[in-house]
């Protein structure tokens, strides 16, 4: 209904001239961002949280699963990342996770973390997307890692997976990545501050407390 109305509105604008349509189309495309901020010398576009579903925004929630304080837990099914705090609470962030075929589960530690990381697409990814560059500089507006990356290693070996920011806030809450955990740029900056080197990370299909709703979700998901 809303979509239809917008199309009518756009149609009306088209009568006013092609310039107007161009502008409003741009406004729609960029409305996941509002304003800019400077972080460590880099200007970046800030997320327009007014447009983001409240459940994906950073919040402090009750948390009754058993992971110890300081652990980062990813509930892949429900698109949440929890940083476990004291007294059965956690900071919860909305995240984007791997597409089907790119999901990854397991334990790791944050052994390295970087401000405005450079991005070197792995060879497999460049095979799938030959148009990708070999290398994207840190701080580039085309760098999909955004302002922070936290590198996940297991027993000192790089898993290839990272927690990082995003160029596309609308992908938070979805299965959209090649296995990395995406966050709003503001949240990637926030989590970076809260996770010392050595932080334990558990990427789970879903947290223990959400088994029931996970079963409901999978029943509700139509087979494609």
């Amino acid at each position: 209904m809303v979509g239809t109305r917008r199309e009518i509105l756009l149609g009306g604008l088209a009568l006013l001239g092609a310039g107007a349509v161009h502008d409003s189309a741009l406004a729609v495309a960029s409305s996941y961002f509002a304003g800019t901020a400077i972080d460590n010398g880099v200007t970046y576009r800030t997320t327009n949280f007014a447009k983001i579903d409240k459940r994906w925004r950073r919040q402090v929630v009750k948390y009754f699963s058993s992971e110890p304080v300081g652990t980062v837990v990813v509930d892949t099914r429900h698109h949440f990342l929890y940083l476990i705090m004291e007294n059965k609470t956690a900071i919860r962030y909305g995240v984007g996770v791997g597409k089907d075929g790119f999901k990854w589960f397991g334990r790791a530690t944050i052994d390295q973390k970087t401000l405005w990381p450079q991005w070197t697409p792995p060879p497999e990814m460049r095979q799938r997307h030959p148009d990708l560059p070999e290398f994207v500089a840190g701080g580039s507006p085309k760098n999909p890692l955004g302002p922070r990356a936290m590198y996940l290693l297991r027993d000192g070996v790089d898993t290839g997976y990272r927690l990082h920011g995003t160029l596309d806030p609308s992908s938070i809450g979805k299965d959209s990545s090649s296995g990395c955990i995406r966050m709003f740029n503001e949240d990637a900056i926030d989590l970076y501050q809260r996770c010392p080197i050595g932080t334990a990370v558990q990427v789970l299909p879903h947290i223990a407390d959400q088994a029931e709703s996970a079963a409901q979700v999978s029943q509700a998901t139509p087979v494609q």
Binding site: V60, K62, V69, G70, T89, Y192, Q193, R194, I197, A200
Partner: protein, 178 residues
């Protein structure tokens, strides 16, 4: 102006409390670390107090600034990440001048108890000195080291030990009893 009045009122309240403390130290001790009410409800419910987070509240500080900074083993040096968190704390504290704060330093168990005690105090002092440098009034703050008491968990694995090497900035409405 109103902030100043609030601050004075808090000091006054604190002075009255101190007068009471003379005959009832146990009450004050429990005030210092209120025990958390047992949590009921379900995972993903808003945590108590976080249903609606007002700017300038303790919940705002926890959610949008962060209370903890971390250290490497045997070090009380603030790294760039710790300084970035303290920068955010200073901005918030200067905007919300009625809050007092207690900087609690902790250590893991990489050395003797007395060494850990000294280290944890150094960490808390380093955080306080940095906040003073960033314009937070020193009279609003006090720093205390807890050594390797009150560890997050008693543990040997690295991911757990890093949690114990920390300073926690606790907002307070009134000073601790002496």
């Amino acid at each position: 102006m109103s902030a100043m009045t609030g601050y004075t009122r808090r000091l006054l309240a604190a002075a009255m409390l101190l007068a009471l403390a003379a005959c009832s130290t146990t009450k004050i001790a429990s005030l210092e670390e209120p025990t958390a009410a047992p949590m009921t409800g379900q995972t993903n419910d808003p945590a108590p107090g976080f249903e609606n987070v007002a700017a300038g509240s303790e919940e705002d500080f926890i959610l949008n600034v962060g209370r903890r900074i971390y250290f490497t083993q045997d070090s009380a040096t603030l790294d760039s990440v710790a300084m970035a968190t303290l920068d955010n704390q200073a901005i918030w504290l200067n905007k919300n001048p009625t809050w007092l704060l207690k900087l609690q330093g902790f250590a893991d168990d990489s050395g003797s108890a007395s060494k850990m005690q000294t280290l944890s105090q150094k960490r808390a002092d380093a955080a306080m000195a940095y906040l003073v440098w960033k314009g937070v009034d020193a009279r609003r703050m006090w720093a205390k080291g807890y050594g390797n008491d009150r560890e997050v968990r008693d543990c040997t694995e690295r991911s757990c030990r890093v949690q114990n090497r920390r300073v926690v900035t606790n907002l307070r409405a009134q000073p601790d009893a002496a």
